[in-house]
Symmetry: C2
Subunit: 476 residues, 2 copies
Amino acid sequence: MAKEQTITKRSEDYSEWYLDVIKEADLADYGPVRGSMVIKPNGYAIWENIQKVLNDKFKKSGIENAYFPSLIPEGYLKKEAKHVEGFAPECFVVTHAGGKSLEEPLVVRPTSETIIYEMFSRWVTSYRDLPLLMNQWVNVLRSEMRTRLFLRTSEFLWQEGHTAHATEKEAGERARQMIDEYADFAKEYLAMPVFVGEKTETERFPGAQTTYTIEGMMQDGKALQSGTSHLLDANFTQAFNIKFLDSDGVEKFVRSTSWGVSTRIIGGIIMTHSDDKGLVLPPKIAPIKAVIIPVYTSDEEKKIVIFRVEQIAKELRDQNLEVKVDNRDLRPGPKFFEWEKKGVPIRIEIGPRDVQNNSAIVVRRDNGEKLVVEFDSLAAEVVTLLDRIQVDIYNRALKFREEHTTIVSNYDELKKSVSTGFAIAHWCGNSECEKKINEETKATIRCIPFDQSKSAGKCIYCGKQSAYQVIFARAY
Amino acid sequence: MAKEQTITKRSEDYSEWYLDVIKEADLADYGPVRGSMVIKPNGYAIWENIQKVLNDKFKKSGIENAYFPSLIPEGYLKKEAKHVEGFAPECFVVTHAGGKSLEEPLVVRPTSETIIYEMFSRWVTSYRDLPLLMNQWVNVLRSEMRTRLFLRTSEFLWQEGHTAHATEKEAGERARQMIDEYADFAKEYLAMPVFVGEKTETERFPGAQTTYTIEGMMQDGKALQSGTSHLLDANFTQAFNIKFLDSDGVEKFVRSTSWGVSTRIIGGIIMTHSDDKGLVLPPKIAPIKAVIIPVYTSDEEKKIVIFRVEQIAKELRDQNLEVKVDNRDLRPGPKFFEWEKKGVPIRIEIGPRDVQNNSAIVVRRDNGEKLVVEFDSLAAEVVTLLDRIQVDIYNRALKFREEHTTIVSNYDELKKSVSTGFAIAHWCGNSECEKKINEETKATIRCIPFDQSKSAGKCIYCGKQSAYQVIFARAY
């Protein structure tokens, strides 16, 4: 018999398992240049579904899409001191064009604050020009030495939102609103439980006044930063001299925010839900919701079965479900394995006996549960089942996170907890303690979660007074 | 009175008019680096509508979206001799990354054949792996000295489709199918009449065996190449050594195609339909289909009018129409001018008397026609009217093209015709004649149109025997 198990077990080698899942689900491949990635159609279709959902959310909150140039004069990066420090070492630099050496080198955008603010400075003169609420879906480039598909590559796709406001209050509210949108998106669409909170100064976006983040827990207990929103306030707008005449006749600096979600989150989806059989996708984001596999042993059976299968497929499509009929000339077994590996949430098997009984066998990808469903109620049942799977895999991931998150009361407990999951602990706010903990445990502070009682306590490292708890974890 | 006319007349200066329309409709702006363009939300929304339509077409014909890296090793470009000759002089070259000098320079994609074929060569081994039918929506960079918003910029957005096939026949059919899709798209959605045909050898894509094109006529009589499809056959696959084992057991070279439409086509939409008042958009691609402007002179009137306006807006939105209600505190006059400039196909004016009469004034952007329409039938009437406008502006553009296209029988006629439009003439097939005509008239052969009787005749330049007619025009 052919070897069906092509995926390394998670318990054997989690890293290998991750790459095997991507390979077997045909999501992505390494490109020829070190650190580059090709997103194959199966992976890109997930990204397109993410785009649809986020675009709808953005549009509802007044954000419009635009496109800004990918090449940024090197000098722009230098205008904001922390920004250049953070990004210059990662930049790809264009020094020649049209066969000639350029007067000023251009960097390929690692992020677009600087070029966007250059344009904002031309567009904004009065409070009437504000707010500006823009987003773009683009590629960004950051040179990386150690790469891993989706999680860390020298080029990735993302959306980057950029807004400009008349007041710090309004900008602050927007930055907060967008991280809440991301958290809602992660929960409702990706079935991914996330901690939502603020980054410490050490972990902030270079040039931000405040950085908010959503942090998911992967099945190996590590954290994945899955979306961030920054209140840049006047840091960049002062650097780019973006002033406006306010309604009170006073000239003021514009306040800004930026926020983004990238293709990295696809890595997060994989590592939150998938299993040793391959990819598991949240139904709401799965490009194919159900696959129908006709089962037959003779041409006569085939004719009867296929006829019924096409009818069923039409009924499902009439419910706006993306359905795949796999009528390739292969045995059912290998088909089952293939679609399991590819993470299609529901498999429907229809054979001659099923046609006779007016029912199909319906199999859930997430937990293997088999149901016999009558043809008459199949379309409605699939719709219900997809919703149920969406909820179930969220709850499963939440349970996993809860089992792997410990409120620790001493440093030894912290050390132990971060080797298998998250540790919640008091911290004094001092970067030195944060740094020491990182050196000694490899864990970083993922965030100061919003959702906490903010009771007083003692820093897990130095024992000094602490006003709030933070989440420690090793991270991707 | 304020000066309302901010747009140069076409008769005065066509180039200035074009840029004024873009500025006043707020579609795009020049970026800080020479030749770069910012696509502003009003312009990008047009592109998003183009994407939706083309994505649907592609999907129906089996094409899947993917993403390939933007940085290409310089050596890849050199593998296909004509390709490197055509593109190397325009490339932006990355020589540094991560603070270090690169071993091999990378070019930012001017087009992605080479990197895609490198990946195809890894994926294809058997006839079972074929066809590969992929597309990507990306930015591409080509250094340009003389730039013009949308029409020619150093960076632009496009879709580039790339397919790989087992036979030349299949590849040839795909290349032809895609240019037909583009022609249909231009006609049905952009209301843009195009000539569809084959490029001469001189005008072919570097590395292609055959290039098909759609060519539109702008209002100054010049041609705009608006989409191309290339049969590359085995030119690239030999260079990249992409072989497959065919079902007959013989190893063969894969045959390939590529095809693309870019943001350039937005320039084509502008120059096909717009007028001295500003932008005119085909309804099917207009981001806003109708704008409703409440008209009132007192707060009491305002209350009555706004109430009705919101009702009407809801009825229109229930028909899936994107509708804008402009209830800013401005006089109606400036609002009319603004939405005219921005190309919204239908303006609906509702004042107190209209509310009393249960009717609205409906104004067509394209020809200024005013209608009084009862509220009860307004939604249905707007739907019908949008369809009518779509057809009317196509017919108007077609009439313009017919009036400016001449079948010429001698060289003097050709010279005269290409100063105001297209000239159709016999050509012997010799590149020398083509070159001479170009030098003497600034016109190029835009295409050998498919739609011709292929009667025998004499070359317009040398008088030698000719088997078919071609279209000469000056071009953007």
